[in-house]
């Protein structure tokens, strides 16, 4: 079964092989393993980029394959980060507090330890009580479970409400955007109990691992991210290349027809929406310990739009497209904003890329949607000399067989 699945989908095999090669290459060249060709900060950047790619795969599943343009998947990503961040902060602070209280003349009571941890964590935002959302922060197992459960539950509740009342298309997009905004505003409040605007910080310092240099930790996380991306990719291709995939593509192209065929469309959509939210949560849980800090600005609606843009630029409806898009755009973005791209002197005006990069990026979305709906992934088609069937009108959907413009109008 598994063999035939891979045989039928050589792209998955190629992708996994490339990912493995890349991981080995980076490991060998990284500072942590002694070679020092790739600096620790760049290893972290690469590790984070792999997490973003995983989120993009989730986004591609839900948008490219099921046609739901969710502007909320980066919120799930952020939530995953928050969940793991709570444990990381709690444990790290507990270590510090216990060490310091051990020097006190009178041994501390359990309550005093908890109070001191609370004071350390929330003193920054002017409070010292543990809010209720931190109830399980002392347990790694529960927080790890929450990494998938919290985004999953939020997606399930929201999706159930939205799909049940048949909100589709752009309305759904706007609604998901509103959900993201509400979540971001909620997290921005200090009263949310997650340290408001400051968010959770110092996440790169793993509790009990103070003796391990960041160079090594960055490699561990890079492996973790690569593994997660590999598994996520495999899972995604297993979903989309099976029968389930056919149904969701059907839903994307004509929801009503699929419904009339007797499929429970809402259940399919809800399942996919929830599962991708969980994948995004996992990606976030791997991302933020590498970034070091998670805060509400990460969850803002614009981040989710960027996620959609990566998928669009990479090429919707093909999983490797999403990965390429996420990696390409985020790396190019960090290159341009890094101030290392030389300015272009036009004589009368000097183009500073720091100022102009966003304009280029914005216009490139427009260009991609107008002129290259298949995105960068379309280049693969050119190379493989694969042609879309010649039908009247332009493609409406991203992959072959999707509804055509002419058909939609009629």
């Amino acid at each position: 079964m598994q063999k035939s699945f891979v045989m039928r989908n050589p792209s998955t095999l190629v992708f996994l092989a490339a990912l493995a090669m890349f991981t080995i290459l980076v490991t060998v060249l990284a500072e942590g393993s002694g070679a020092g060709v790739i600096s620790t900060s760049f290893v972290k950047t690469l590790g984070k980029t792999l997490c973003l790619a995983l989120a993009a795969v989730a986004m591609d599943l839900v948008w490219g394959y099921a046609g739901i343009l969710s502007l909320g998947h980066f919120a799930f990503f952020g939530l995953g980060g928050y969940m793991i961040g709570m444990w990381l902060m709690y444990e790290r602070t507990r270590g510090i507090v216990e060490a310091s209280l051990a020097e006190a003349q009178i041994p501390p009571t359990a309550q005093e330890v908890v109070d001191a941890i609370g004071n350390q964590i929330f003193g920054v935002v002017g409070s010292s009580e543990f809010p209720i959302v931190w109830s399980f922060s002392d347990s790694l197992a529960i927080q790890l479970a929450l990494v998938v459960l919290v985004p999953g539950a939020l997606a399930a509740v929201f999706g159930w409400l939205a799909f049940r009342s048949r909100v589709t298309g752009v309305y759904l997009s706007i609604l998901t955007q509103a959900m993201t905004l509400a979540l971001a505003l909620h997290l921005f409040q200090n009263d949310s109990g997650l340290r408001g605007n400051n968010g959770l910080s110092g996440l790169q310092n793993l509790p009990g691992m103070t003796h391990v240099p960041q160079a090594t930790i960055s490699i561990w996380f890079f492996w973790g991210s690569a593994l997660a991306l590999g598994l996520g990719y495999l899972f995604a291709s297993w979903i989309v290349f099976g029968k389930f995939g056919s149904v969701i593509r059907g839903i994307r192209d004509d929801e009503a027809r699929v419904r009339f065929l007797g499929y429970p469309v809402e259940t399919y959509k809800l399942f996919l929406f929830t599962v991708t939210a969980m994948i995004a949560g996992i990606a976030g849980a791997l991302y933020y310990p590498q970034a070091g800090i998670v805060n509400p600005a990460e969850v803002a609606p614009i981040a989710s739009i960027y996620l959609a843009v990566w998928v669009a630029i990479g090429g919707r409806g093909r999983l490797y497209g999403a990965v390429i898009g996420a990696i390409f755009v985020s790396l190019v973005s960090s290159w341009f904003t890094g101030g290392q791209v030389p300015d272009v002197n036009l004589g009368f005006y000097t183009i500073k890329w720091v100022d102009w990069w966003l304009i280029v990026l914005g216009l490139s979305f427009v260009a991609v949607t107008l002129f290259a709906p298949k995105g960068i992934g379309g280049l693969v088609d050119l190379w493989a000399d694969r042609k879309s069937p010649d039908r009247h009108g332009a493609d409406l959907g991203p992959s072959e067989g999707s509804l055509q413009e002419k058909e939609a109008v009629e």
């Binding site: 900060s41 510090i96 060490a99 310091s100 003193g123 920054v124 935002v125 605007n197 990460e298």
Partner: protein, 426 residues
């Protein structure tokens, strides 16, 4: 006499060059970590330009330790995780000797673990909420006791305010500052019901109800004052609404901690005359050093540009770092840090700033009234106030003390006589 002087100077210079040779590789790199794009670019770009100006001026004077200074500018793009990444890049890839940067508290918290891990050196120029002390950071902006507490005292003593509205943007600096102030005011005998606290989102523009609430506070016959930690753009709507409601500074004075010359330039100030701001520096301060600084700034950036408090903080911080590096004969972080303690440098408002062992400066506190031209009329200037990392007005922090010089600890519990932690809390 002259001869003696020259010989001494040459000897000193020779010594400097000699130490420089074995100290650091030329050029000495100075990292500048300020957002040049995104929401904070509005404030931080000015500081980047200030740093470039200071570096150029220093190079014109012959650099440091006989080396040319080279500024390395990166753009963390108002993205807090990116601050950590760029800080790591500055320290490991560019191998800078010192970093000047950050504006928001959250960006500083993001950078802290990285510079502590890599033993970097950061000069942080903005007024902040305190409750932190890092071995690797020198805080050249005001701690709460150098801005908020004196301004509140001014309200209590000079204006006779009996009821306080603490209005702030919902983030860590206003939250912590208001917490400290609430506790301080209660200690001064202000009842809890006479303190109104409100938090609004960044960029808030609908102020009518909040202004009405503040006016209604006057109903029990006590004088009302507003302490504003409202940040950035939101101030514009707030002051417009105040002006529309016809609230005179004589009836309900407003003192702001985040409104400086730069923010007022986006606003018609004719209706705001008399409202207050508290800083350690105003452009209108009269001193020769300040005149020279403003002239240099305007010559470089244009006539209509203004100077502000964080710029002065960088001015002092940079010069102290230069002097400390010269004194230490090296740009090595540990050596420079030891040489920093007790460094003195004249600040731009007259008087002298001193670097204390808790990594804060002793600076005077100025209170200014807004004038029609968008400048401040300084009506009160205190003696130098030593910055306090841990406030005395919150029970948990009152027992803490920071002394990196003798105790070697930034979070020392004076009750148990033990060091709570060596790294800072982030």
């Amino acid at each position: 006499m002259n001869f003696l002087k020259t010989t001494m100077l040459t000897t000193v210079a020779a010594a400097a060059v000699a130490t420089a040779a074995n100290a650091a590789d030329c050029p000495i790199k100075v990292g500048i970590l300020h957002s040049l794009s995104g929401t904070m670019a509005i404030s931080e770009t000015t500081l980047k330009d200030t740093m470039l100006m200071l570096v150029d001026e220093q190079n014109a004077k012959g650099g440091v330790l006989g080396c040319e200074l080279e500024a390395v500018v990166v753009d963390p793009a108002s993205d807090w995780p990116l601050f950590a990444e760029k800080a790591r890049e500055l320290l490991t890839v560019h191998e800078v000797d010192v970093i000047f940067g950050n504006w928001t508290s959250v960006s500083r918290k993001s950078v802290l673990p990285v510079i502590e891990e890599l033993n970097g050196l950061l000069f942080y120029p903005v007024q902040y909420e305190g409750e932190e002390s890092s071995k690797n950071v020198f805080y050249t902006g005001a701690a709460p006791n150098q801005q908020a507490i004196p301004a509140t005292d001014y309200f209590l003593d000079e204006l006779g305010v009996e009821k306080f509205a603490l209005l702030g943007t919902d983030y860590v600096y206003p939250r912590t500052t208001n917490n400290i102030l609430e506790s301080y005011l209660k200690g001064k005998g202000i009842a809890a019901q006479d303190i109104f606290v409100n938090y609004t989102p960044f960029g808030h523009s609908d102020w009518s109800k909040i202004v009405a609430d503040v006016v209604a506070m006057g109903a029990d016959g006590k004088k009302v004052g507003v302490i504003s930690t409202i940040n950035g753009d939101a101030n514009i709507g707030f002051y417009k609404e105040l002006a529309a409601a016809g609230i005179s500074a004589d009836d309900i004075p407003v003192v702001a901690f985040s409104v400086g010359e730069e923010e007022l330039s986006g606003l018609d100030t004719s209706n705001l005359v008399g409202h207050l701001a508290a800083w350690n520096y105003f452009q209108s301060a009269e001193s020769e050093a300040n005149t020279a600084f403003i002239e240099a700034w305007k010559a470089r950036m244009g006539e209509d540009r203004v100077t502000n408090d964080p710029m002065e903080a960088h001015f002092i911080g940079f010069n102290m770092w230069v002097n400390a590096a010269e004194a230490a004969g090296s740009t090595d972080v540990d050596a420079v840090r030891d040489a920093m303690y007790g460094q003195e440098f004249p600040n731009l408002t007259g008087g002298t700033a001193v670097m204390l062992p808790n990594h804060h400066l002793a600076k005077p506190v100025l209170i200014g009234e807004i004038q029609e031209d968008g400048q401040f009329d300084i009506i009160s200037q205190t003696e130098e106030v030593p910055g306090d990392a841990w406030t005395d007005f919150l029970a948990e922090s009152a027992v803490l003390k920071s002394d990196w010089k003798d105790l070697g600890c930034g979070m020392y519990n004076t009750e148990t006589n033990s060091c709570v932690q060596l790294k800072s809390n982030y």
